[in-house]
Symmetry: D3
Subunit: 223 residues, 6 copies
Amino acid sequence: MINFPKRMTVIAPHPDDEVLGAGGTIARYADEGVEISVLIVSGHLPPIYPPEAFEITRSEAEKSLKILGVSRWEFLKIPATMVHQIPVADLNGKIFNFVRETNPDVVLIPFPDRHIDHRTIFDASVVACRPVNDQAPKIVLAYETLSETHWNVPGIEPSFVPEFFVDISKYMDKKQTALNCYLSQVKSIESRSVDACMALARFRGSQNGCSYAEAFKVVRIVV
Amino acid sequence: MINFPKRMTVIAPHPDDEVLGAGGTIARYADEGVEISVLIVSGHLPPIYPPEAFEITRSEAEKSLKILGVSRWEFLKIPATMVHQIPVADLNGKIFNFVRETNPDVVLIPFPDRHIDHRTIFDASVVACRPVNDQAPKIVLAYETLSETHWNVPGIEPSFVPEFFVDISKYMDKKQTALNCYLSQVKSIESRSVDACMALARFRGSQNGCSYAEAFKVVRIVV
Amino acid sequence: MINFPKRMTVIAPHPDDEVLGAGGTIARYADEGVEISVLIVSGHLPPIYPPEAFEITRSEAEKSLKILGVSRWEFLKIPATMVHQIPVADLNGKIFNFVRETNPDVVLIPFPDRHIDHRTIFDASVVACRPVNDQAPKIVLAYETLSETHWNVPGIEPSFVPEFFVDISKYMDKKQTALNCYLSQVKSIESRSVDACMALARFRGSQNGCSYAEAFKVVRIVV
Amino acid sequence: MINFPKRMTVIAPHPDDEVLGAGGTIARYADEGVEISVLIVSGHLPPIYPPEAFEITRSEAEKSLKILGVSRWEFLKIPATMVHQIPVADLNGKIFNFVRETNPDVVLIPFPDRHIDHRTIFDASVVACRPVNDQAPKIVLAYETLSETHWNVPGIEPSFVPEFFVDISKYMDKKQTALNCYLSQVKSIESRSVDACMALARFRGSQNGCSYAEAFKVVRIVV
Amino acid sequence: MINFPKRMTVIAPHPDDEVLGAGGTIARYADEGVEISVLIVSGHLPPIYPPEAFEITRSEAEKSLKILGVSRWEFLKIPATMVHQIPVADLNGKIFNFVRETNPDVVLIPFPDRHIDHRTIFDASVVACRPVNDQAPKIVLAYETLSETHWNVPGIEPSFVPEFFVDISKYMDKKQTALNCYLSQVKSIESRSVDACMALARFRGSQNGCSYAEAFKVVRIVV
Amino acid sequence: MINFPKRMTVIAPHPDDEVLGAGGTIARYADEGVEISVLIVSGHLPPIYPPEAFEITRSEAEKSLKILGVSRWEFLKIPATMVHQIPVADLNGKIFNFVRETNPDVVLIPFPDRHIDHRTIFDASVVACRPVNDQAPKIVLAYETLSETHWNVPGIEPSFVPEFFVDISKYMDKKQTALNCYLSQVKSIESRSVDACMALARFRGSQNGCSYAEAFKVVRIVV
């Protein structure tokens, strides 16, 4: 129904979101010949974090992205929790440009959740992917980020209830290895640990009859 | 991301629902080599309708299905408005068997709306497509039925808010021709007229940057 | 149940939103003797747009508003995409003052959608219409804006599912003529073209048994 | 915007629902010259209730309906909790016929809630009011029934969140008098007592700046 | 805020639902001195299943219930998929009687999901727990059933989005042992396997900062 | 199921929100020995209000808080309508610190409604209560604020549909007395009058079988 994609672009609020939400999917499609690009919008930067904090996660990220088979990445370097202070047209423009340059068939974006940067970047990403002309991406999906996504308040804020599943059974090892690159992140809180990630992938798999899966909410598919 | 499908199965509550909801999609994919099967569950039958009523719509349906390029169809002949009186296991079983025999990659099912038969058949179809083993269909989509679907009460009953669009710009003619076969149906009420169908397809097209489209709500996609 | 209104006020984020969402309704009620006022909050202004851009749409707007029979209008001239940077109390106050001065029975406001200005102005308009005293407007309705409104993400952002319909069958010509005044806008993107507008109006008509209609989401009606 | 109505029809699942949900509205519009008709679909009948039970509530109902100024009423006499066992086409037909005969501008129907009869009758009433031709009622509103409506489960079943309010400040006395006719009902459970009704009306009034109000969810308004 | 409970009652549609949804919670509270009662409403019975099928699951269930520490249980023995054919007042009455006899502070009921029996029993259970007098249970929670609950269609049917979590870290062993008693059930489909259950419990734990948890949707809590 | 709490913390956007939403609950638990702390985030301050305005409500608040039995309170003194202009990390940090210092078992937070400060503080409060470690509060509930909460637009913004009720029948007097301290607030608009508060409490009581209640939406409960 949908032709096999040639290029996939992932928008990540902070380094590690791309692995948490779509690491297995990235690994699988890279392996199947899809060209993958990742834009990391924000990061641990001053004034809230010391300058070294960003460099640590950047180097962790680069190790992880290589393992997953990502061919291109970029860091916008907007300080964490301050993304919504960037003028809307600027942020939209930066994400739009990355999408236009990488020219993807599929775009993966963060779900708008507990973390304000995720909400801001979700909004900018959906604007950047508006179907206003033929170059607009045909498939746009939102991924979940363990902990933040599941801290939205039921009945008040949107809940992540996925309808699109990618079988990553053969790529769980790679996802785990990539996650383990983020020493500074995945150990910091219990609810984002590697074994919690594996459990989530197993649960998502059980929802659709396979061993491990990553789950997505469909933003728009045009065929 | 998803391989091109080989077989598509459409579950229609009554003759004409398959054209109203997915006529362009059927015509397009039949044309592109997909094998299409249609199951028509209910119909204008006694005790509410005279016996001839069913034969008229059956012959209209067969003309229409041929135009669209459907290769196989079947009528379950359950009287309209009485589908929910069939034992649940029976109805589920009949739909499940049709799905298993036609072995589709994609299943199109009705949206649960104002018409009680649509709700009953939606439910049975989702049960029939549960992802319990490898033969379960990988793509399940719900289509809209002009008038009935848009008479659900906002905020009380589910609203049809689609995220999956099929570009049918080149197949609008076929959809119209197929609709016109249903003389007994499309003329009976203003809100299901051919020009209302065209307007809806144009509106759905405008939502995603193409001329005419059919819109679907994703039940489940597994890749 | 509700007495026929004497005055109607429309809050438009940008010039053309008032026609896209409510052009037929404005034309009809103006024709039936209702006094119509329109507040246009934002516009194509520096720094994002060149100064001429605003003057072009302003002159297009004035031509269009006259055709529809609007008797009073005002431009707040806040630059597009920057409305949310105005202090909340200021924006609320400006909209509140326009509502108080025009003293309407009915207020039409934008639906909060893909465009951030629409969301900000929706919020300010609902605050301005709070039922805190006898002068508060008795009927407040939100209109849809072709393209932007239908780019909200299903299941994550609010969906426009209308329950209030205005029969504009006799006023489609005027709506079209008014739309055509906005040469700079309606041609720029396919999904906001005049024929997409007509298709939407025909679809909304088919939902409630008339030829053409405009659809609204009820914010509040007090009788 | 909407012309003042001539005729209003109320569909009540059981005797007393019409007063609980819309007693003040009925009294007000009867007083203002609107012709009011009430259809009471079900009642306390064998096999669950003894035959006398129905006669008691019928006589209570008639007293109450007269106080409110209702000019016509009818009892369908379907046993309580068994309404969903009536063939769908029969029930729809009976309600449709009452609506067609009374030819209303406004129809008030029950909200689908904890009581299965309310859900069944809501569904049949919406079918009976489909906008398929010019005689279809232009305003259809759903009313709340103290206790049952507020026992729907949040986040699982539809919640009654009204957007249409009728100021009944001058008719609270009549609503109370009418309620007091239902000795057999309003005293039976605490959560449907007369003072709980008054509190609800006061709360609904405070939502929109008047003293007492009845609240409705808009099913459809066409003007 | 809430006093520690003395008695807890669990309503299970079929044998194994009580362990899948609340096995750890039952084990923990039984261990902490709460008296637990379980009502199993339906089962694998003729005409769909052979008579032996029920006896197998009954004996599995009894072994499992003893392991969890349940002190009282009852089988209503209504054939699976046919619960909705029981007269509503009968089914409500049977569940109500069990609740009244066991006199619980807390009632756990199934979430209304893909399985029609779950929906019917959810509805009857909520009716049975209506807060009409002082004996009504103060805490009513709905549990999830792996596979069925997660096959509800997003955006069309209610989604299980829990807000109440029970830490079962110390009782995972018992939950597993109890699950393993159901040889005939947990092996039959991949999506209800023991390791999928463990993964779900780990995911639910990660949502609220503990190792393993069971999750519930609050129906009503009164303190 | 849940042990009786030792400490309860209330986050109030403006002085009087804590009484409107949770005055009876505070009075009851203070009386039962729970240590209550209140953080009042914003207030009537320049530039929108004259400096005296804040002092008036502060002294009203202190009188009211003493009546309710609150043992500790703090004013953050952020000007009303400007809370969203504080850097996100600052606001989150201030609320987080108050929560950590008061170390509560239960936290009561405002529902995100018509008032922009309520939405901003809701968001910051949920972040401050994330279950990232053992000190995170186990029970987080959102309260309603008469008028503001009920001015959210149905179907567009979240609706307050509570599932958690606190019986405050014995504490209505205290709630009323505390409310009456806020001379400057409760008289200013009809929809926030003392008798509207009583009506709401009576209605909430009738929902769950007691005389007067306060209602809450569960954000998260972990036991």
